[in-house]
Symmetry: C2
Subunit: 345 residues, 2 copies
C-alpha cells in the first residue's frame, strides 16, 4: 500500500524482490521524487551486498548534482524544542521559496521507533508542505555508526533539489561531534536557567557551535532567556576559536510567538556570506570530504581487525591482562596485532 | 662523559654499542636511579628494532610497580607561566615529602631543541632538588605521535618511585586532548583579561579541565584575576559534564608570591579523594588503558595502510577526484581499501 503521506514513507524498505536499478533511483531523485528519495535513503541502511552496491552507485551518480545547499545541524537536549523550532523556521523558509530537507538523527530510534514518529507528528504542519522533506536519518550501515550514512543522505537530498538541509540531533551524545564534520553551520538550541536544565549538554558541544539560540523566550520566560543569552555570550568569549574569524552569536527566540526566528536564520546567512568571502566555507567542505574518507578507511580497518576470528578468540584474555595490570596498553595492542598478522597472512 | 646535572641527561642516547639489557634498565629504574630512568625514557623514542624490543620489555617489567601516583596534566598557552607555576608548586610538594616527576610535552621540540632547554633552565631550582625529576617527554616513536610514549614514560617514572607525575603541555594543539586520556587530573592555567590573551586556548580544552587556575594573580593584576575567575566559573557552569559528579573549581594563584598555590594542589587532593570514593578514579584509569590499547592498534593499522606502496601510488589521484567532487568520501575510501586488499593479499 502506498503511504498516505509522502513524508511518512521512510518505513518502506526495499523488498527482497525489489530489483530496481540504480538508474531508476537516480532518475527519481533528480526528478525530485520524494518517495524515491526516501527509499534511496532507506537503501543506504541496508547491509545486503547487492543493496550496498546499488546504494554506492546511486550516491556516486548523484554526487555531481549535490553540494548546492546550506547544511545546518540543529541540536539541543530533549525538551529544548527542536521540533517546534524546526517547524517554525522551516515554514518561513518554505514560504520564502526554499526547499528544505530535515534529517533527524535519533539514537533512541535503535531502541524504539516511537520517538521518531513522535517527532514527525510534532512537525506535522511542516511535513505536509510540498517543499519540505522530513525523514529519520539512516541509523545503521556497514561502515558503522550513524554518521557516514547521514552524510550520504545529505548528498541525495541535495541532488533531489533541496537547497537547505537540516540535520537534527539530540545534543547529548557522541554523534554531535560527528555531525559537526558534515555540516556548514552548527546551531545549538539551549534553554534559559543555566543551572539545572543545561546539565544535559555534552562537553564539547558548546565549543563547536556557530550560534546558540535560547528557545522559549516568550511570556515570563523572556527575562531569564535574556540573562541566559548574556551568560552564553561571556562563555563563548572564553572559548573562541583562534582558527576561525567567525564569532558565534547568541540569540533568543520563540517558536510559539515567532519572535527571533528570522534572526536565527539571519545568523546562518551572515555566516555563509562571511565564510564564502573568506574561503572558509569551501575549505571546510574540502576538509570534511577528506576527513570522511579517512574515517571510512579507519572504520573499515577497525571492523576487519576486531571481527577476525583469532582476534576475537584472544581479545578477552588480553583485555583481562590489560585491566589487571599484567600487560601495558601497548603490549596488549602488539599482542593482538601479531595475532591478526598471523591470521591474515 | 657523565652529565654534570643528573636532570640534564636527557640528551644521552643509547649508543650503537650500548648492549645494556632490559634487566639493567629495570634494576636501575626500580632502584630510583635517575640517569637510568632518563636513558630508559630516551629508549622509548628509538626506532631501532632492538631498542624497541628492549623498551617493550622494560615497560612490561616496570608495569607491576607502576600506577601508585597521581597523574596531573598542567596546560596553558605560552606566557601563562607554566614553568614558574610548576617550579613553585613542585618545591612545595618536594618539601612536603613527595617525589615529583615532570614530563614536558613540547611540540616545538621537533623543530628546535632550544625551547626545552629553555624550560629546564627556567625550572632550575626545582631541577636541582633530589626528589624531583624533570625531563622532556619522548617526542617520537614508531607507534606515532607523542602520546603513547608519554604514557609509557609515566609508567617508568612511577616504577622509579615518583608518586606525583606532572605532564606539562602547551595548551594550543591537539596533544592536550590525547594527554587528557593519560592523566587523572587536567589542570588548565589561564590568564586574566578574558578578551585577547585567551584567544590561544584551543576549543575543547576548557571543557575537559578538572580545575582552572588564573595565574599571575599578584599586584595590580589581582582584581582582573578575580574577575576572570568569576567569568570562568560562569562558563564552566554552562559546560558541566553530566557524567561526572566533580565540579571543576576556578582558582587564582601567584607563582611569585606563592598565594593560592596550595589551594590549587588542594583541589587536586580533593578530586583524588572524591573520585576514589566514587570509584571514578580507578574506572577512568581502566578506560584509559583500554583506550590506549585501541589507539595503538588503530594507529598501527593506519600506518600500515598509508605506507603501503600501492596505496601511496594511488592516493594522489583518489584524493584529487574526491576534492573535485568526482568521488564521494565513501567511494574514495572503498577505492583505496580495495587497492590495499589487492596489495596485501
Amino acid at each position: 500500500m502506498a503511504p498516505l503521506n509522502p513524508n511518512l514513507d521512510h518505513q518502506s524498505r526495499p523488498s527482497r524482490s525489489d530489483a530496481r536499478s540504480a538508474a531508476d533511483y537516480v532518475t527519481g531523485i533528480l526528478d525530485g521524487n520524494r518517495v524515491t528519495l526516501s527509499q534511496a535513503i532507506t537503501l543506504l541502511e541496508s547491509t545486503r551486498p547487492d543493496h550496498r552496491d546499488t546504494a554506492r552507485t546511486v550516491v556516486e551518480e548523484c554526487l555531481p548534482h549535490s553540494g548546492d545547499s546550506i547544511r545546518v545541524a540543529v541540536t539541543g537536549v530533549p525538551g529544548v524544542g527542536k521540533s517546534t523550532f524546526i517547524e517554525a523556521l522551516g515554514q518561513r523558509l518554505v514560504a520564502a521559496g526554499r526547499h528544505l530537507a530535515v534529517l533527524t538523527v535519533d539514537p533512541s530510534s535503535e531502541r524504539s521507533k516511537g520517538s521518531i514518529l513522535g517527532d514527525k507528528t510534532r512537525m506535522g504542519t511542516l511535513a505536509s508542505e510540498e517543499d519540505a522533506f522530513i525523514r529519520p536519518s539512516p541509523t545503521a550501515g556497514t561502515l558503522g555508526g550513524v554518521a557516514p550514512r547521514t552524510r550520504e543522505a545529505i548528498l541525495l537530498c541535495e541532488a533531489a533539489g533541496y537547497d537547505t538541509v537540516f540535520v537534527e540531533t539530540v545534543g547529548v551524545g557522541q554523534s554531535e561531534i560527528s555531525v559537526r564534520s558534515m555540516v556548514d553551520f552548527f546551531l545549538l538550541l539551549a534553554l534559559a536557567g543555566a543551572g539545572d536544565e543545561l546539565q544535559g549538554i555534552k562537553r564539547g558541544i558548546v565549543e563547536v557551535a556557530d550560534a546558540i539560540a535560547i528557545t522559549k523566550a516568550d511570556g515570563d520566560n523572556r527575562a531569564p532567556a535574556k540573562a541566559a543569552r548574556a551568560e552564553y555570550e561571556k562563555a563563548l568569549r572564553l572559548l573562541s576559536d583562534p582558527d576561525s574569524g567567525w564569532e558565534p552569536p547568541v540569540l533568543t527566540c520563540s517558536s510559539q510567538t515567532g519572535a527571533g526566528i528570522d534572526e536565527v536564520w539571519g545568523a546562518v546567512e551572515r555566516y555563509r556570506a562571511y565564510t564564502q568571502e573568506t574561503g572558509f566555507f569551501e575549505e571546510q567542505r574540502r576538509r570534511q570530504a577528506q576527513h570522511w574518507m579517512e574515517q571510512a578507511i579507519e572504520q573499515r580497518l577497525h571492523e576487519e581487525f576486531f571481527s577476525d576470528p583469532d582476534v576475537q578468540a584472544a581479545r578477552g584474555d588480553v583485555e583481562e591482562a590489560l585491566q589487571d595490570g599484567r600487560l601495558s596498553s601497548l603490549a596488549a595492542a602488539e599482542r593482538l596485532l601479531s595475532i591478526y598478522r598471523d591470521s591474515t597472512s
